[in-house]
């Protein structure tokens, strides 16, 4: 079958399988040990005493590190043609080929330990993965940046360009972050204030008062007791703190290829690179408590974005603007979806009889069609807006429930590959069908233009 191989691989020598950085097993081990210690909990510590606890942890640590080393030995990656191949697994061997034209976004993530050792984790987002596929942990920062640049370049290349293999992989090795054009930067003061203006932050004093009261009444100030209570509370109430840490020093830039580059994080820094044609939709939210400042936040929907495993707030991992003023948001939306002006998105409300179904929020519902995007907005207290470019529409649905049938209304959904569907709630039935037909036509035209 060698005759049918693409010319690139036939000419160039198949590149060798590469290993991850030799320090990776240690870092992986450290991560698992933290998890194990957390699982053993404070109570175990108080029961078995510090010495035994330390011994148990040490034994587990050695085991974990040994296991990680075996895992490291069996892990490798290589780029073949337009595919990234990753093999890993100790007991169950796995060989995975990722077609790069399906690549949606690449993230370079550096947890605290990795920052100390100068390493980074490379995460690829592809469609159809329940979780982030193929995290390459860990590579040196330089290696990771070069690999990312190379993967994105291969991913963005069209078939016509593929015919002429011009770029040597070696020539791309130094990444070019210096040429990035900065777009905006969120002030850390604004970030902190914005997270203080969340319901959780308002409940924090109540929680602290409760704990203090409990100890005053019981009169037992043991270290273990305090520690376990604080740990239990931290999970829920410290979410604003976590967000501040996550979104610290949030910066956006356009790289020389026109892709969007997002950097943020304090303890764990992340750097996402998203090609603009992978943006499925943009969501804007105006929380009630931020209205005094006139702030909003913007969300970026990217297909295949998996978010944090198990943390529940999976939507948090793809933000465009954690907090900002309207003018900033307007400029950003223009940057991501050229030709879309956040201030000029007129929406029309549903007919007055929709009041029966939305007694309070009728005035906050609306949809609008602009030449580029489908806009829908809703929400009385927390106002939200959802912007879907026609070219990203996957399908259009019209749904009419029993109550809507009584009032002659219907809802139109505009489905995208990721995130919430844009929805035109409670429109007049005839209008709903007209809207659906219009959306289908516009989506087709937008697609045809893009494939030219």
């Amino acid at each position: 079958m060698t005759a049918t191989e693409p010319p690139e691989t036939a000419v160039a020598e198949p590149e060798p399988r590469r290993r991850l950085h030799p320090l990776s097993p240690l870092l992986h081990g450290a991560k698992s040990i933290a998890v194990i210690v957390a699982a053993l909990s404070w109570q175990t510590l108080s029961q078995v005493g510090l010495e035994r606890f330390a011994i148990v942890v040490a034994v587990i640590a050695v085991g974990v590190v040994l296991f990680s080393i075996v895992g490291w030995l069996s892990t490798g990656y290589q780029v073949v043609g337009r595919e990234l191949r990753i093999s890993d697994g100790v007991v169950w061997r796995r060989n995975r080929a990722i077609p790069l034209e399906r690549l949606q976004a690449v993230e370079l993530r550096r947890p605290l330990l990795a920052q100390l050792t100068g390493l980074a984790e490379l995460r690829l987002e592809v469609i159809g993965g329940g979780k982030t596929e193929a995290p390459l942990a860990y590579l040196t920062v330089r290696e990771a940046a070069a690999l990312r640049e190379r993967l994105l370049r291969l991913a963005g290349r069209t078939r016509a360009m593929e015919a002429q293999p011009t770029d040597q992989p070696d020539a791309e090795a130094p990444a070019a972050p210096a040429l990035e054009r900065p777009l905006m930067r969120v002030k850390n003061r604004e970030l902190v204030v914005s997270q203080l203006l969340t319901p959780q932050a308002f409940f924090l004093p109540v929680g602290v008062a409760f704990v203090v009261l409990q100890f005053v009444l019981e009169g037992s100030w043991t270290f273990i007791g305090i520690a376990s209570t604080v740990t239990a509370m931290a999970g829920v109430l410290l979410q604003p703190v976590r967000r501040v840490l996550q979104d610290w020093d949030f910066r956006l830039a356009r790289d020389p290829e026109g892709r969007l580059s997002v950097r943020y994080g304090l303890l764990e820094t992340r750097n996402q690179v998203v090609p603009l044609n992978r943006v499925q939709a943009i969501g804007a939210t105006w929380p009630l408590l931020w209205r005094g400042q006139g702030w909003l936040h913007l969300r970026l929907d990217i297909a295949g974005y998996a978010g944090e495993p198990g943390s529940g707030d999976s939507k948090r991992s793809d933000r465009l603007l954690p907090v900002g003023e309207f003018a900033t948001a307007r400029a950003l939306v223009w940057e991501v979806l050229p030709g879309v002006d956040l201030a000029g998105l007129a929406t029309s409300p549903p007919p007055a009889r929709a009041r029966w179904l939305n007694p309070f929020s009728l005035r906050s519902i609306g949809v609008g069609l602009t030449p580029e995007v489908f806009v829908s907005r809703w929400g009385l207290l927390t106002r939200e807006m959802h912007i879907v470019p026609y070219a990203r529409l996957q399908s259009v649905r019209v749904v009419q429930g029993p109550l809507q049938r009584l009032t002659g209304l219907a809802t139109v959904y505009a489905d995208t590959a990721r995130g919430r569907a844009g929805q035109a709630k409670d429109r007049d039935l005839a209008e709903a069908y007209a809207l659906a037909a219009e959306l289908a036509v516009r989506a087709r035209h937008a697609r045809e233009q893009r494939t030219d």
């Binding site: 996957q394 399908s395 649905r397 019209v398 959904y413 590959a417 659906a436």
Partner: protein
């Protein structure tokens, strides 16, 4: 202009019904379940003899009869249409749904047929896109029609394929 929620654009779109044999299949499934439940209730009646068991049997049977009428109408409410660029599917009585799925957005096509469906010469075609919400499932197709639809969908999908 009055618009019927069951048949949008009746003038321009050529709606096709699904096979009426689907009614038979659905009725068989419904009555099979009803029989099992009734049999269970009969055992209870024989063992205990309380009048509540009789009431239960009556309710189950009445429900099944009512749902059978609904099934007949629901199957007739299913419809699909192939346009030049997209597939239209409509269904549902209580909640009426219409899906418009462009061929270019197709990721893969499923053709499935359960044992009962096979016995009656039926198959189900389902079109999947990258959006989980897209809902383009057509039950009750003759196998030949299902195969034709599948081939047509894949052919059209290939023409206009793109990586999202």
């Amino acid at each position: 202009m009055t618009v019927d929620a069951l048949t949008p654009w009746p003038d321009t779109v050529d709606w096709r019904p699904v096979s009426p044999k689907l009614i038979t299949v659905e009725l068989i499934v419904r009555w099979a379940w009803t029989l099992i439940v009734v049999a269970g209730l009969c055992v209870g009646l024989v063992l205990q003899g309380h009048w509540l068991w009789q009431l239960g049997i009556a309710l189950v049977v009445l429900n099944a009869i009512w749902r059978s009428f609904v099934t007949v109408r629901a199957v007739r409410a299913w419809g699909y249409a192939e346009r030049d660029n997209d597939l239209l599917v409509r269904h549902g009585l209580l909640v009426r749904r219409l899906s418009i799925v462009p061929y270019a957005r197709m990721q893969f096509v499923d053709v499935t047929a359960g044992p009962l469906e096979r016995a009656f010469g039926l198959a189900t075609v389902q079109l999947h896109t990258a959006a989980a919400a897209s809902d383009a499932r057509i039950p009750g197709l003759a196998p030949a029609e299902a195969a034709r639809l599948r081939d047509r969908l894949t052919a059209l999908g290939e023409d206009r394929a793109e990586g999202l």
